[in-house]
Amino acid sequence: MSSIWSNCLKKLENEIPGADFSTWLRPLQAVEEGDTLKLLAPNRFIIEHVKQHFLPKLEDAVYEFSNGSLIIEFEIGSKKPTVQIQPKLSSNKTTGSAPSTVKKAPSNINRAFTFESFVEGKSNQLAKAASMQVSENIGKAYNPLFIYGSSGLGKTHLMHAIGNAVLEKNPSANVVYLHSERFVQDMVKALQQNTINTFKDYYRNVDILLMDDIQFLAGKERSQEEFFHTFNNLLDKKHQVVLTCDSYPKEIEGLEDRLKSRFGWGLPVAIEPPDLETRTAILIKKAQQQGIDLPQDVAFFIAKRIPSNVRDLEGALRRVIANHRFTGDEITIEFSKEALHDLISLQDKLVTIDNIQKTVADYFKIRVINLSSKSRKQSITRPRQIAMTLARELTSHSFPEIGDAFGGRDHTTVMNACKRINKLRESDVKVAEDYQNLLRMLSH
């Protein structure tokens, strides 16, 4: 740290309230350049805030400790070298960059997510097999590979595993992993900075494009247009595209039909929530990765109590391991029960759709059987939609399972109900209130 800046901070710490000092001034980094003290901040909002509230004090301090030899300048940035994970859109190259001149960014692949560290079960074995195929036959096996399923089930893990497998065989391969929102953000930046051609070159020249959560392109027409061309370009050159999504291609709302249709060209494979055995195996493997030998009965106990997604499982395991490291006690079922007390006690009351149906029916003063009936009266359909949405949120059941539990309805009916209720929660105070009340009733 600049010694002048270090002295300034010591002085300012006594002059500026603690929370303000910690929030706004501590994170600034200082670089001395000639007669300038450059203060680096993560974004323009922080710079604006600092200028607005603390500039005179900053200037006084810098004047005092530099004997008037330095002036302050603000800049967005960071002193620490950070990993470049997006194309350099400000590059001077604006047209016609050959693939070899476009900067490769291998570091966005997470080395921990490999096929070896992925736990296979009935719910995900097809997706894993297809991913392995793709990594062995780039651009030939299934193109695009489209992996879909709910959040937190391992879609991203498989994507990185493909990337790692390819890089292992060919370290110079140009493999790019990114979230679809980043594609949108980069494109917006490129348009603002007039570097759209560099942007296009970058994405159209990768060997493998791994794009996560493609559903976030919904409603973004310009990004969809650009992605459409990127996609076609890569497929024409037989470069591999792997996509993940929360639903089947044809069911993505807000996406152009031509994209939906193309996403279905290769192989769409589903990942379902893991069954009990797989959840148990996941826990044992994740514990091993942290150097912990988790007994089978404990893993089984946790897996049984946390029936939802892999992220919840990992969160529970982290808690057990953290407590073990804190106390030094052996990990047993009793120990885990105690460590997960908060999580389990809440979970216990929430696991069944029956329970949700009963609570919702009581709340709206209708009969439970009405929720499964064919009635289309709003006094019945609204509670039914709310119950379905709650079932989706609070249990690990799939859309089809929820549909079955509500009079054998189709899974798309459940999906539409969830979308409808989530939208209404934003616009209709009554629905938002009812939903919150029910959520509270079911969780205490």
Binding site: T23, P27, I46, I85, S150, G152, E181, R182
Partner: protein, 231 residues
């Protein structure tokens, strides 16, 4: 008699680990310290009822991280706009207070989701607080919600009456104010049972004792409460 103007008291600057009364949260403090020092975990989610000291702990973590030379940033989401998250993923430890408060705001949820993904790609740490466990965050964005339960989740336990008074005494002591037993009893019986309320009262006590140059008494507390409203 001329009344001496008091210095500006800023209780937030006291938000460090030493001034936090642990009560039955000792283990939680240990986890937080490890989180900052070991850097083994990427995410820690701290939840508990309002008034238990989540903000205090978050600021303590942020300050401690900075004192050991780490880049850290504290942000209360209640006061902020989503744009503030731009570029913050470059910071090693980001502490976001009251994350539940942005639920239902589509712009905020998307901004937080993107920020989360960027921060994780860089393997930088995230420390969060909320008033409910991750599972009950009323987020519209399911993908964001599942991410909240990914790391270590800790609950801040409620303080008993006796523990709350002990916490009050500890904080008062750090400001040079002794709290006799009869005053502690009075507060226990008559004053609100949440820490922010007690800290505000303490702030007023500090100013009054300094201005009037008198020791703390029950009568003085009664007067302060009458002037500022009891609860």
């Amino acid at each position: 008699m001329a009344v001496q103007l008091p210095l500006q008291f800023d209780l937030q600057s006291e938000n460090n680990f030493d001034s936090f009364f642990p009560a039955s949260n000792q283990e939680l403090l240990e986890h937080l310290q490890r989180f900052i020092h070991d850097k083994q975990e990427l995410q820690l989610y701290l939840w508990g009822e309002t008034g238990l000291g989540k903000t205090h702990l978050l600021q303590a973590c942020c300050q401690q991280a900075q004192h050991i030379g780490r880049q850290a940033f504290y942000l209360n989401l209640i006061d902020a706009n989503p744009e503030i998250l731009e570029g913050l993923d470059a910071i090693e430890l980001v502490c976001l207070d009251n994350v539940d408060q942005i639920a239902g705001n589509a712009d905020w949820e998307h901004a937080l989701f993107n920020f989360y993904n960027r921060l994780r790609e860089r393997e930088h740490q995230l420390l969060l607080t909320a008033s409910c466990p991750p599972r009950y965050l009323p987020f519209m964005l399911h993908d964001l919600k599942t991410r909240m339960s990914w790391g270590l989740t800790l609950k801040l336990k409620i303080l008993s009456d006796a523990e709350m008074i002990a916490a009050f005494r500890l904080k008062a002591q750090s400001m040079g104010i002794e709290v006799p037993d009869r005053i502690a009893r009075f507060l226990q019986q008559h004053y609100q049972r949440n820490l922010p309320g007690l800290w505000q009262l303490l702030d007023k006590i500090a100013q009054t004792t300094l201005m009037e140059k008198r020791k703390l008494s029950v009568a003085m507390i009664k007067r302060i409460i009458d002037q500022n409203g009891p609860n």
